[in-house]
């Protein structure tokens, strides 16, 4: 046992180099984000001079105050929170419901339903026909455009279905004998024991809902309905070519904030919630990814 653990000189060198390379990867991953963070906490006009790499030169919370004082930004944040909460709840419940039915091997027509779904994994109408459909369904400038067209995904159904089929049969037997119908079995027995897979799908869809800006671009003209990512897109896209100046300023109350510093602070505020959530769901989504890739 001890003999196996003893490392040769070559192995020790390998380990040192490998650990150092990994340290570099971590640094390269974190530093770009850190750079934005310190600039967001720096005085806006001062940041325009550049040269802020490790720590803010003039520490201030003014940028964040400006973000939270801007009605436009706060409304967009509220839309994002609403579409994420509602979107995840609807997507998870609806997809799990269909998956539960399809997971039952005695379902009449089950094979046909699965075939209908499998086709959707490989074919879709693409941007224009989908746009025309949503327009005909009166989903333009409608909050429901964030929810209904993405409330179901056959790919996520496969992940759910795989999980449901592994639930021991005996679990629902007692309820069935008591005369419970399939709805109450789904709600009272199947979903409560499926928290790992629910967490996985909720995270995947939550990240999609939180980060999606494109839906807002093509379906939403009413700025009161745009999510924060769409709002940011309009600001980012305008300044990235360095040809256009500050078009969207919101409520830049004080002179120390610039449109750039507000932009950075908004980016930080937008990103923080997800960054705090994902480490806790890590063990779930790793498993979900595995099922998805094997079956998908």
């Amino acid at each position: 046992m001890f003999a196996l653990k003893r490392r040769t000189k070559g192995e020790v060198i390998f380990d040192i180099i490998n650990n150092l390379v990994m340290l570099c990867v971590c640094f390269l991953t974190l530093y770009p984000i850190w750079y934005v963070l310190v600039n967001a906490f720096n005085d806006g006009n001062d940041a325009m001079l550049g040269g802020i790499y490790w720590w803010p030169r003039i520490i201030t919370l003014k940028n964040f105050e400006a973000v939270f004082a801007s009605p436009g930004i706060m409304l967009a944040m509220a839309i994002t929170v609403a579409k994420t909460v509602v979107g995840v709840a609807v997507h998870v419940f609806f997809t799990a419901m269909v998956a539960y039915a399809l997971s039952r091997r005695d379902l009449v027509g089950g094979k046909i339903y699965i075939l209908i779904g499998t086709v959707t994994l490989f074919f879709n109408g693409g941007l224009i026909p989908t746009f025309l459909l949503n327009r005909d369904l009166h989903l333009l400038d409608n909050f429901l455009v964030y929810i209904i067209p993405v409330m179901f995904s056959f790919f996520d159904l496969i992940i759910f279905m795989t999980f449901f089929r592994e639930i021991p049969d005996g679990l629902d037997e007692a309820a069935r004998i008591d005369g419970a119908n399939d709805w109450s079995i789904l709600l009272r027995i199947v979903l409560p024991v499926s928290m790992p897979v629910i967490a996985t799908i909720a995270l995947f869809h939550g990240v999609y809902q939180w980060n999606d800006y494109f839906t807002g671009i093509i379906y939403i003209n009413n700025v009161d309905l745009q999510p924060i990512q769409t709002y940011l897109f309009r600001v980012v896209a305008q300044s990235s070519s360095n040809t256009m100046m500050t078009a969207v300023q919101g409520s830049a109350a004080t002179r120390t904030v610039t449109s750039q510093s507000i932009k950075l602070a908004t980016m930080v505020v937008t990103t923080l919630p997800i960054v705090f959530v994902y480490p806790f769901l890590q063990r779930y989504f790793v498993k979900g990814m595995m099922i998805g890739s094997i079956k998908g």
């Binding site: 196996l4 070559g10 192995e11 990994m22 990867v25 390269l28 991953t29 770009p32 750079y35 934005v36 600039n39 550049g50 040269g51 609806f94 269909v98 539960y100 039915a101 399809l102 091997r105 005695d106 379902l107 009449v108 027509g109 209908i116 779904g117 086709v119 879709n124 109408g125 693409g126 941007l127 224009i128 026909p129 989908t130 025309l132 459909l133 179901f152 056959f154 049969d169 069935r176 004998i177 119908n181 399939d182 789904l186 980060n211 800006y213 494109f214 093509i218 990512q229 940011l232 897109f233 980012v236 990235s240 070519s241 040809t243 950075l264 980016m267 937008t270 990103t271 994902y278 595995m290």
Partner: protein, 329 residues
């Protein structure tokens, strides 16, 4: 366990369907009775099927507008047929060669550099001895995946700005005399796209390989050690083969996706100044369809793209089946 569920009889319907009458009309009859008995389950399933018909199948049907002259006033069915007119227009468009060059160029470089990197990362991360350190690296490496492309676009704009860190460093080293506006220069666009994509997805893409590697039994490594295999030999002969199947599947999907771009990424980073390097098929579809309202033309581009992607998928699948004995279907 699966068998048990397979043969399980519905507690209500079980005794009602003796095997002997499951023939001819009797069978149809019992199927219907079973269907009725499953009405709750069937409601759940059919709600899903109805959703798919509306949101998946109607758009597929909608692609027929590429053979029609669709306008907003008439419905899809009423629009007059124009045959292959839009396809001819597409192949006559002077912009097309450039669009194809950009799409394939970016995709192929992503495939050559971006595809192997997560595998290499997973292989070497697996060699880290300290479990806690390994876990920490993993968690950190997922982080960029959770940033939106809009936020990452903002980060890149900050980094690449005139007073941004890249220009500051290069000027301090006297490699350049004047700041470069990277996002306004077509020549830098591919580099920015590919490196930011790798930065964002390296750790996330490695998850799946790490999961496969974790399934290798320790006995394999012990046996290899006894045979005198060194660290690299074990990585090459034990670890790598364990992810071969995963690599094949992901490679098939990547090959069939070469005509697709990461549209969220392109839309954030493109602008009129770098258009000659950033106009890809997906942007072309968006631009002609949503911006210029040429719905039928844009649908025709989508259709051509889908057909080529399907052919690529089938070819990649066949090749992988021959070489590697792994395939999607």
């Amino acid at each position: 366990m699966e068998n048990k569920r397979n043969t399980k009889q519905d507690p209500v319907m079980g005794p009602l369907i003796p095997a002997s009458i499951e023939t001819g009309s009797g069978r149809k009859h019992s199927l219907w009775r079973k269907f009725v008995a499953q009405r709750h389950l069937q409601t759940m399933a059919l709600l899903g099927v109805a959703w798919m018909i509306v949101f998946n199948y109607i758009p597929i049907y909608g692609l027929i507008i590429s053979f029609k002259e669709y306008n907003i006033v008439k419905s899809i069915a009423e629009a007059p047929w124009v045959g292959l007119q839009h396809f001819r227009e597409l192949f006559d468009d002077d912009e097309l060669p450039n669009v194809i060059r950009n799409t394939l160029g970016i995709s192929l470089i992503k495939l050559i550099i971006g595809f192997p990197l997560p595998i290499i990362f997973a292989l070497f991360l697996n060699e880290v001895r300290s479990l806690r350190y390994k876990k920490a690296i993993q968690t950190i490496s997922y982080l960029p995946h959770f940033l939106s492309w809009v936020v990452l676009g903002g980060i890149l704009a900050t980094w690449l700005a005139d007073v941004g860190i890249i220009n500051s460093i290069l000027m301090a080293l006297h490699l350049i005399d004047q700041p470069i506006t990277y996002l306004a220069e077509p020549s830098y666009f591919w580099t920015i796209i590919i490196s930011s994509d790798i930065w964002k997805e390296l750790g996330w893409s490695a998850i799946i390989y790490l999961a496969a590697i974790a399934g290798v039994s320790p006995e394999m490594y012990e046996a290899a050690t006894i045979d005198g295999a060194g660290r690299f030999q074990k990585m090459w002969f034990v670890t790598l083969p364990s992810v071969r199947g995963t690599i094949s599947i992901l490679f098939i999907l990547a090959v069939s996706g070469v005509l697709s771009s990461n549209f969220d990424q392109i839309l954030v980073l493109r602008n009129s100044l770098n258009d000659s390097a950033s106009n890809v098929i997906d942007y072309y579809i968006y631009q002609t369809g949503i911006v210029s309202n040429r719905f039928s033309y844009s649908a025709a581009v989508t259709l051509v793209k889908a057909v080529i992607a399907l052919i690529l998928l089938l070819i990649a699948n066949q090749v992988s089946k021959k070489i590697n004995d792994t395939s999607l279907f």
